[in-house]
Symmetry: C2
């Protein structure tokens, strides 16, 4: 099994490691959806995925690391980062997909489950967010002055997604299409 | 005891209801700090505060409502909403105090503890945030065009505090004085 870096998957479709990853991630998300974080154990995940516990521990040393890897895998499929040439529309589609993800019961549970990292979990969390910001970097750059620093790119990304996460997880106000449009237009007005 | 609306305290310093509120809030925060949300029960709070359980249930019908009331009381004392005539400096002081609050162990625990409201908790959460935004409204208005709508005021507040909450609770990046200065300057550049 060659999945040494959980957050940097070497995809070999159909290979054994791909099948193991798929089975483990699916089991993790299903168990989280069913019983929440409290009932989520590596033992139960291994059991449902049909793999050895040691296989899981070898690849994802902490529960937080495993949750983040499963979350990363899910985000790669669900978060829309397309560049069609229409920046405003593309960024709205990006934020819409983020809102849909974190307001779904499973997406919400995943964010909350990884909110208190300790020990090695913090490193996995940092890697997760580095990857997520990197995935959106090209899209965000298309809204900014050419040659913007990485710090500017990240700060702009945070100004877009910060209010969405705030509403969904903290104030509980939720977001709709109109809110996201306003947020994106205000941000874009100041982007260049 | 006349504390019918937990989030809209009628303060009568030295009165019995004030003493009960103080004792209950202190007990709630101490127990949360000691043992986390899992070990926080109305029974334990009543015990430590030296009041009857029914007194607590009558005033704060759910644990979330009580946590939010204690959090509101704490925020009123810790969040800096001063208008000195220097808008940028005032808003930086406001955000600095928010960052200090939510990065402290107790502040962090309070936000996370109220993150999953269910049933009546959602109403208390809405009331809590309505009050918090209202407390900052004058300060935020001082940065905006005169006559800005309440929606604009709230959206501006969210663009300020959203990235701070995102970093502290979601991406785990944390915030420092420099980050907050940049955030405030960017927001102010587009405020009018």
């Amino acid at each position: 099994l060659v999945v040494a870096q959980p957050l940097a998957p070497r995809k070999r479709p159909g290979g054994r490691s791909t099948r193991v990853r798929r089975a483990v991630f699916d089991a993790t998300l299903e168990l989280l959806a069913d019983g929440g974080l409290a009932s989520l154990s590596i033992e139960a995940i291994a059991d449902r995925a049909g793999v050895n516990k040691t296989t899981i521990y070898r690849n994802w040393p902490t529960k937080t690391a495993l949750l983040l890897a499963a979350s990363e895998d899910r985000s790669e499929r669900q978060i829309v980062v397309k560049q069609t040439g229409h920046v405003e529309r593309d960024i709205i589609a990006f934020l819409d997909s983020i809102a849909a993800n974190i307001t779904s019961p499973l997406g919400r549970a995943l964010v909350i489950a990884t909110m208190e990292p300790a020990g090695r979990g913090a490193t996995a969390k940092e890697a997760f967010w580095t990857h997520r910001f990197k995935a959106a970097e090209g899209l965000i750059r298309s809204a900014l002055t050419p040659g913007a620093s990485k710090e500017d790119v990240d700060a702009f990304t945070e100004r877009l997604i910060g209010p969405v996460y705030l509403r969904v997880f903290v104030t509980g106000k939720g977001v709709d299409g109109r809110y996201i449009q306003r947020l994106v237009r205000t941000a874009l007005a100041t982007a260049r």
